[in-house]
Symmetry: C2
Subunit: 374 residues, 2 copies
C-alpha cells in the first residue's frame, strides 16, 4: 500500500467546501492532549467564536465530536423522550432524517409536508399545532441542503414558541452563509456542520442549546439512550472552568482546523460573510441564466450557498458531472432521492464562494454542455 | 482572536500518542468530496489495511466517523435489543461505560467484577454464564486503558462462544500494540481508536463485525435507536462496489491520516509492531524500577503500551505531572476514578514507543522526583 495523494478538486457541491490553506496548515500542527491546559484554552476560544457565529449567548454552545448527522442526533436524543409528540417538517432529505430520529427514539412524529424545493409552510405548522395541542417539539430544516430551499426560521420558531413548544433547527448549511440569529429568533436547539460555510474539514458539528432546551433535558424521566451524545456528560468536558472531566477523546487536530476557520470568520465578520454568499450567488445565477439553466427553487426561498438547478433535458446527469470532475477537477453535487437525475447542486459555501470559482465553473459548464448534448 | 499554535508535547499518556510527521502531512492534503471516486478508492484501502491490523477477513471492517466511545456505542446500539441479557466484565472505567451502554439501551447487565488493575477472570465469566443461561452477549475490555491490565481475550471469547453468546471486545488500546487475532480468537464485534497504537489523530474508531454479529443485527425485532451509528445504513456508504449511498459526510482529512498510519503499520508489519511495544515496555520498566517506582498491575497482565505505576508516597500527583509538562513538555496521564491520585499512566503507544522518548522521560522523572519530594 502506498501513501494517498488526493487530486486537487474545486469543491462546488453540497459540502465539503474548499478548505482554505490556513485551515489545512492548522490541521497539520502537532497533536496535543485533549486535557492539556493549552488545549482547554483553545476549546474556550472555539466556544466563544461559535457563540459569535450563531449570534447567541447560550452557555451550551460547542462542537460535537462527529459530523453533522451526529449533531442532529445530539438534539433529538437529548430532547425527545418516548411518547413525546414532535412536529417534523419535511421538505427534503434532512426532514426525513429528522423523522427517523424521532421514531427510533420512541417519539411520535407528526409530519408537515411541503414539496421538495419549496420552503416549510408556517401556515401548515400553525395548523398542525392547533390540531395537536400536546406537541412538545417542532423540528425543521433552515437550509435544506438536498433542495436548496431556505425556510423562515424566525417565523417558524415564533409559532412554535407561541404554542409552548421547544424547537429544533437544522442549520448545517445555513450557518455563516445565511442570516441566522439564534437568540433573537428564539431558537432552542440548533446544529450545524464544520464543512459547509465554515469551510473547515468534515467531522465536527457545532450545536447550541437554550436554557429552555436544557430545562427539558434536565427534567427527563428516562436516561438519554446515547452515552456518547448525552449532553449531561459532554458538558463535563466542554463546560466552564479549568477542571474538565474526561468524557471522550476530542478530535484534536480537526478542532485546530475549526478554530482557524472561526478566526477567519471573525476577521471577515459574520454579516459580511452572509453578504459575500449572497453577492456571489447573484453572480452565479446570472451566469447560469445566460446558459439557459433554471433554478428548482423560487427566487424568494433560494439559498445563496446551495444552488439547485434543473438539468437541461438534452443533458446526461452523470456524464456532465464526470466530465466536470475529470476535465476541470470541478466537483458539483447530484440530486438526492426523488430529485436524483433531475437537479445538480452547485455549492458556493465558505471558501468556495469566490468570483474566480464561479467564472471557472461557468466556463467549464458552457464547454461541457455543448460537447455533451445528448 | 488569533490562530492557535499548540506547544510541541511528547505525548506519553493514555492517548493520543505522538503523531508521526508523515501522518500530520497527510492531514494537511487538500480536502476532496466524500463521494469522489478517488476518495472511494482510498476508503477501500483503509478497509483492507484495517482487516490486516485486526487479523480478520470480516467484510464489515471500517472506521466509524467518531472517536472510540462512538465505536463502543456502535457495537452496543447495533447488537443489544431491549431485554437482552448482557454479561459485562468490569475491571476499570471502560467496563463501567459498557454497562452504561447496555442499560441505556434497555438491556439487562449482569456484572462480573474484578479488582481494578487485574485481568478479567475467565472463571467468574464462566460461572456467570452457568447462572444466566439466557445471556445473549458477553462484553469485556481487552486492554483496560484506565488501569493498564490486559485480559485474555482468546479464552474469554472461547467461553462466550461455548455458551452460544456473541462477544463484544474493546480493543481501543490493544490494536497494533498487543497480540490481537479477531478471526482466530472468534471475536464477534470489536472496536478500537485511531489515536492509540495507530498514532493517527483522534476522531475515528475502527470496528469489525463477524457474520454471527451481522446475523444478530439483521434479525433485530426493534430498530437501532441511533440513526448515525446504524450499521445497516453506514454500510451503504462503506460497502462493496463503486456505487456508495450518501449516509453522512465522512471526516475526509482525518481518514487521510488514518490511511497513512495504516500504510506505516503495513510497512513495519503488525507482529513487529507488537514486539516493538513489548521491547520498549521492558526498557521503561527497568528504568522505572531503578527509580524505585512500582507497577499497579502484576507482570503477567501488564500492558506494554500503558504502564500504570504507583505514585511514590512522598510525591504530589499534580505537582509532578505539571512539572513534567511545563519543564519538559512531557504529558503523562493521571489516574481515573478510584485510581485518581494513586497512579500515573505512562503511555508507550505507536510512535511514542521509541527508545528516545523513554530515555527522556526517565531522566526528566528522576530530576523531577528529586526536586518535588514532599
Amino acid at each position: 500500500m502506498k501513501s494517498f495523494t488526493p487530486p486537487t478538486r474545486i469543491l462546488m457541491g453540497p459540502g465539503p467546501s474548499v478548505v482554505h490553506p490556513r485551515i489545512l496548515d492548522a490541521m497539520a500542527r502537532p497533536t496535543i492532549g485533549h486535557l492539556d491546559p493549552a488545549f482547554v484554552d483553545m476549546m474556550d476560544e472555539v466556544k466563544e467564536m461559535l457563540k459569535y457565529a450563531f449570534k447567541t449567548e447560550n452557555a451550551l454552545t460547542m462542537p460535537v465530536s462527529a459530523p453533522g448527522s451526529a449533531g442532529m442526533e445530539t438534539c433529538f436524543v437529548n430532547l425527545v423522550e418516548p411518547g413525546d409528540k414532535v412536529i417534523v417538517c419535511i421538505n427534503g432529505v434532512f426532514g426525513l432524517r429528522m423523522k427517523e430520529n424521532v421514531t427510533r427514539l420512541g417519539g411520535e412524529a407528526v409530519v408537515v409536508e411541503d414539496e421538495w424545493g419549496t420552503a416549510v409552510s408556517p401556515e401548515k405548522v400553525e395548523q398542525a399545532l392547533v390540531e395537536n395541542p400536546d406537541t412538545k417539539i417542532v423540528a425543521f430544516v433552515h437550509a435544506e441542503t438536498s433542495t436548496g430551499a431556505l425556510s423562515d426560521a424566525k417565523t417558524l420558531c415564533q409559532i412554535a414558541n407561541q404554542h409552548g413548544c421547544i424547537n429544533i433547527v437544522d442549520a448545517v448549511t445555513s450557518l455563516a452563509g445565511s442570516e441566522l440569529r439564534v437568540d433573537e429568533w428564539g431558537i432552542d436547539a440548533i446544529y450545524s456542520g464544520s464543512q459547509k460555510c465554515l469551510s473547515a474539514m468534515p467531522g465536527l458539528s457545532p450545536v447550541s442549546f437554550s436554557e429552555r432546551a436544557i430545562e427539558k433535558l434536565t427534567n427527563r424521566k428516562t436516561p438519554v439512550t446515547s452515552w456518547f451524545l448525552d449532553l449531561n456528560l459532554v458538558m463535563g468536558y466542554w463546560g466552564k472552568g479549568s477542571k474538565r472531566a474526561y468524557h471522550h477523546t476530542a478530535p484534536v487536530n480537526t478542532l485546530y482546523g475549526l478554530h482557524e476557520s472561526l478566526v477567519m470568520l471573525s476577521e471577515e465578520g459574520i454579516e459580511n460573510s452572509w453578504s459575500r454568499h449572497q453577492q456571489n450567488h447573484i453572480l452565479l445565477r446570472d451566469g447560469l441564466n445566460n446558459l439557459g439553466i433554471n433554478y428548482l427553487v423560487d427566487e424568494a426561498s433560494r439559498l445563496p450557498q446551495l444552488n439547485s438547478v434543473l438539468i437541461p433535458q438534452d443533458q446526461d446527469d452523470l456524464g456532465v458531472r464526470s466530465s466536470l470532475l475529470e476535465n476541470y477537477n470541478i466537483d458539483i453535487g447530484a440530486g438526492l432521492g426523488p430529485l436524483e437525475g433531475k437537479i445538480w447542486r452547485i455549492g458556493l459555501m465558505g471558501h468556495t464562494s469566490r468570483k474566480k470559482n464561479i467564472e471557472l465553473l461557468l466556463s467549464a459548464l458552457k464547454d461541457t454542455l455543448q460537447k455533451k448534448k445528448v
